[in-house]
Structures are given as C-alpha cells and as structure tokens.
C-alpha cells in the first residue's frame, strides 16, 4: 500500500565540521584532500603522563567566537564542538530562523555520542571529592550526559521537531543519520544531525586505556596505519561533524541545494573485540545498505573504510567488502582519511560522510595519510588524492563494542536551475 511518505528522500544540504585538521568545513576538506596528517603528541592538560602519546586534537577552535557564553558554561567541550558544527551546517544550508520560525516543529535534532562530557564531569567530580557535594555545580546534571548536544542544539536553535540521541558505539554516527532519514520519512522537513566527541581529557583518556586496540605508539607518523603490516591500533581524536539533512522537495522549495542523498543504511552487531566475526557483520550491513538504497554492488565508486588499524579487524573489513561486493571489491578505490586526524569515535563516520559528499562534489578520492605498503587485497588510495568520477559512495563504521554499520550516499545530480 502506498504510504503518503513513501517518496520522501533525505538529502544533505549543509555540512559543518570541527575537526583536528580544520575548525570549519573548508579547512577540513582542503587538508583531507591534500592528505595532510595532523596526528601529534597529546598536549591536553593532565594527559602528559598517560600512556596515550598521540592523538588528533582540535587546537584551532575558540568556542566563545561561535557560541553564547550561557551555553558554554553549562556544556562540555563535546557539546561546544556539536553546537559550533551545527552552526556551520545551518549556515552552509542557508537554513535560518526565518525559514522555520513559523513551523519550528518541522525541524528536529539527532546526535550520536560515545562518551558524553568527560572533561566537565571530571571537573565536577574533583570538586565533589576535593571540596564536597555542595561545590558540585547543577549543570553537571546535564553537561556530561551523552544526550546533552541534541538538547542544547534544539534549545539554542528553537528546533521543536522530533529529537533523538543514538547510543550505539562509533557506528552510531551512521545510525544517527539513518534515524534522521526515518524521521524525515515520517513527515519532518529537516533534521540537524551528526556527532562530535571530546575524549581527550584525563578522565576520558584513562577510560580508553582499557582498549587493547588503542595505539600506544609515540610516533605520530607510525601510530595509526591500518591495512599495513605495521598496524598497531588506532589513534583517538576529538571533534566531529553535523549535517543539515532535509526532505528533498522541501529543500528544493526553499531554494536549498541538495548535495547528496542518504540512500541506504543497515546496521548489525557482532560483539566486542570479535574482529573476525565483524567480517560477517560488516558484510551483512553493506548488503543491507545496498538493498535499502536499491543499489547494485558495481555502482559503488568509492569506499570510506572503517580502518581500525588492528590486523584482524583490517583483514575482516577487506574480506567483508569482497563478500558483499564480489571480486570487483579489490578494484574500487578505498580510502580512510581518518588516518590523518584520528578516530573521533561517533564523530568519525560522520566526518567520513562529510568527506564523501565533498569528494563526490570535487570528483576526487582523498588519500589515506601515513599508510604505505598496503597488505590487504584492497585498492587503498595512499599518498595523493585520486581523480575519479564519483556518483555513489559507501561509508563503513565499526565500534569497539561490536556495532557495524554501512551507509550508501548518492551524489545529487546538478540541479537544472
């Protein structure tokens, strides 16, 4: 039976990035395209003596320039990133209050988060144990909550449509986009969606030290080299991306430029640190995303890989691509720009989605920094970017706790107008 919502397609109309290699979308894309690595020694206060030596820090970011002080004092750095990225995305989409003032319920917000506000939480816990409970500020009750960014973006922008938070591991970044697309199919016009994380504070870093897959390497050029024999784990990063995703005809009606369609998505779960099992899970997610998009395997022009940097996981990812895409998998350009900035947990796949949209628009596959001598049977783009006509991109993400997700993006054909 035909649902009235059957033909509501979700398109990306705005991209906002706060990343280690650029605190705006243009800087991020320029550095990404050029394959510049910004992995560097950890410099955040209190982290110096910890065994994590290299990370992707966002250094070129002054939240006070972009966010009102009243929002800053009650939020953690991860929400500062998300609010700033949302600003950039809304500006990029030319979606302003005048567009939704009369129908604020037509705009929703969805974010994914892996860890919430660790830095804010640490400060307040130090007050609790150092001075006593009377010295813990009330904003602790909301700031370290993983849902804070959705709430604050909604309040600040006056978005009163369906809001949500996805807690599904790193792959939740893609699941959040899928949730936004579902929200749009059900009748909402626009969703501000994405993820940003701030895992580089002492408490948060200590929490990550339990991950066997975290790279302890102190050399920024060697710390994160997936798909090679030298792979020694992943480097964490902060930052992320927010997008404006809109129902296509609503976007076109207000004169916005549809840039890419969120064409298909699927997610699976195969258990924590069971990387061999992730082969099947990831392959199943890819097949599901292709089916959801009505996309044949041979239509995929580029793959943005999860690229964990752990031998068993990298091998599983390469095999999953072959399982799902067939023999052609070895001839599709595969890239992992995150090797130049680190993995920003839930923010990582959203940064990859942003890069994929920009790559399709520029007809160029960005390279995989720091990766040389690829040891898996994939055409990993290393060294320099590669020119290619890109109509359809596949973005993959896996979480350390066992979530796998795949998303198919299609470039929007140049508008006739």
């Amino acid at each position: 039976m035909n649902s009235p919502h059957e033909h509501r397609h979700s398109v990306v109309t705005g991209i906002g990035v706060i990343a280690p290699n650029g605190a705006n979308t243009e800087a991020f894309w320029k550095a990404t395209k050029e394959g510049i690595s910004v992995l560097d020694a950890v410099t955040r206060e209190g982290c110096g003596d910890l065994p994590l030596k290299v990370a992707g820090e966002v250094r070129d970011f002054d939240p006070g320039e972009l966010i009102e002080e009243r929002f800053l004092v009650q939020t953690d750095r991860f929400t500062h990133f998300a609010m700033a990225a949302a600003n950039l995305a809304l500006d990029d989409a030319l979606l302003g209050r005048a567009d939704y003032n009369r129908s604020p319920f037509a705009v929703g917000v969805v974010t994914a988060a892996g860890s919430g506000g660790g830095e804010f939480g640490q400060r307040e816990l130090q007050r609790l144990w150092g001075q006593g409970s009377r010295y813990v500020g009330p904003y602790q009750s909301i700031a370290w909550f993983y849902a804070a960014s959705t709430g604050q973006i909604s309040i600040r922008g006056g978005f009163k449509g369906p809001c949500g938070v996805v807690a599904s591991d790193e792959a939740g970044g893609l699941d959040a986009l899928a949730h936004a697309a579902r929200t749009i199919r059900r009748g909402t016009d626009a969703v501000v969606v994405g993820a940003a994380e701030a895992p580089l504070a002492p408490y948060s870093v200590v929490c990550q030290l339990g991950y066997e897959d975290l790279s302890r390497c102190a050399d920024p050029a060697r710390a994160y080299r997936p798909f090679t024999d030298a792979a020694c784990g992943f480097v964490p990063a902060e930052g992320g991306a927010m997008l404006v995703v809109e129902e296509r005809s609503a976007a076109e009606e207000r004169g916005a430029r549809p840039r890419a369609v969120l064409a298909g998505h699927a997610a699976t779960f195969t258990g924590a640190a069971l990387w061999e099992e992730s082969r099947q899970g990831l392959a199943h997610a890819i097949e599901g995303a292709l089916a959801d998009a009505g996309c044949a395997p041979e239509e995929i022009d580029v793959v943005f890989a999860d690229a964990l940097g752990v031998a068993a996981a990298d091998r599983a990812e390469a095999l999953a691509l072959t399982d799902a895409l067939g023999g052609r998998a070895g001839r599709i350009p595969v890239t992992a720009p995150k090797t130049g900035i680190g993995r920003a947990y839930c923010g990582a796949p959203v940064l990859d989605i942003a890069a994929a949209v920009l790559a399709m628009e520029s007809s160029v596959v960005p390279p995989t920094p720091n990766v040389i001598d690829v040891s898996v049977d994939l055409d990993v783009v290393t060294g320099r970017s590669r020119a290619a006509e890109l109509r359809t991109a596949l973005v993959l993400s896996r979480g350390l706790m066992g979530s796998n997700a795949a998303m198919v993006l299609r470039r929007c054909d140049k508008s006739p107008s």
């Binding site: 009102e68 002080e69 929002f71 009650q74 009377r134 010295y135 500020g137 009330p138």
Partner: protein, 103 residues
C-alpha cells in the same frame, strides 16, 4: 562586609554561574523582570544559591531557588521578605552573626 547580597553581586553571580551578562542597573530599574527573561534557568539559579550558601556558610531559605525575579531573590536572601515562614526567622537570626570573609 556583611552577607547582604547586592544587585552588583547578583549580576556577577549570574555571569560566573550561568554565563549571563546582565546590567545591575537594569535589574534595579525593572524589578519585575523575571530571571527567565534574563535567560537564567532553574539550574542557573540553583547554582547561584549553592554558591551563596558556600560563601555564607549557611543554608538560604528554601524558597530562594524558586524566586522568580531578582528582587524576590534579594528579599529572600537578605531576609526582607514580608512572607517569612517559621524557618526563615531562624535563618535570618543566624545570618546576623555570620560575615563573609574575603568576599
């Protein structure tokens, strides 16, 4: 210096606890403007109450965190409220002997 709260001090607390820039002269001129209109939410006011309780070393009247306007809040904190309940006199009496140090 006593622990009577002034509008200047309240404005400073609204800045430090809730990130709000409010002109104390405006609060004096427009005493009925609500905290909400200045952008102060309930958690922000709770933070100000907590800060004052730590500073004064005594609890504020229980209604302080529910005050709607700066004037109501100052009246409660400074013990000028017409509607003082049973507990409030005690708090006021106690406050007479407490002075803030270094504030």
């Amino acid at each position: 210096m006593t622990d009577r709260l002034t509008l200047d001090e309240l404005a400073a607390l609204m800045k430090s606890a809730a990130g709000l820039t409010v002109d104390p002269a405006e609060m004096a001129d427009r005493p009925d403007t609500t905290f909400a209109e200045y952008g102060l939410d309930s958690l922000g006011l709770l933070g100000i109450v907590g800060e004052l309780e730590n500073r004064f070393g005594r609890p504020l009247p229980t209604d302080a965190e529910r005050a709607k306007t700066p004037r109501d809040f100052l009246d409660l904190v400074n013990g000028n409220s017409d509607s003082s309940g049973p507990g409030r006199g005690t708090a006021r009496a106690a406050s007479d002997t407490v002075t803030t140090t270094g504030a």
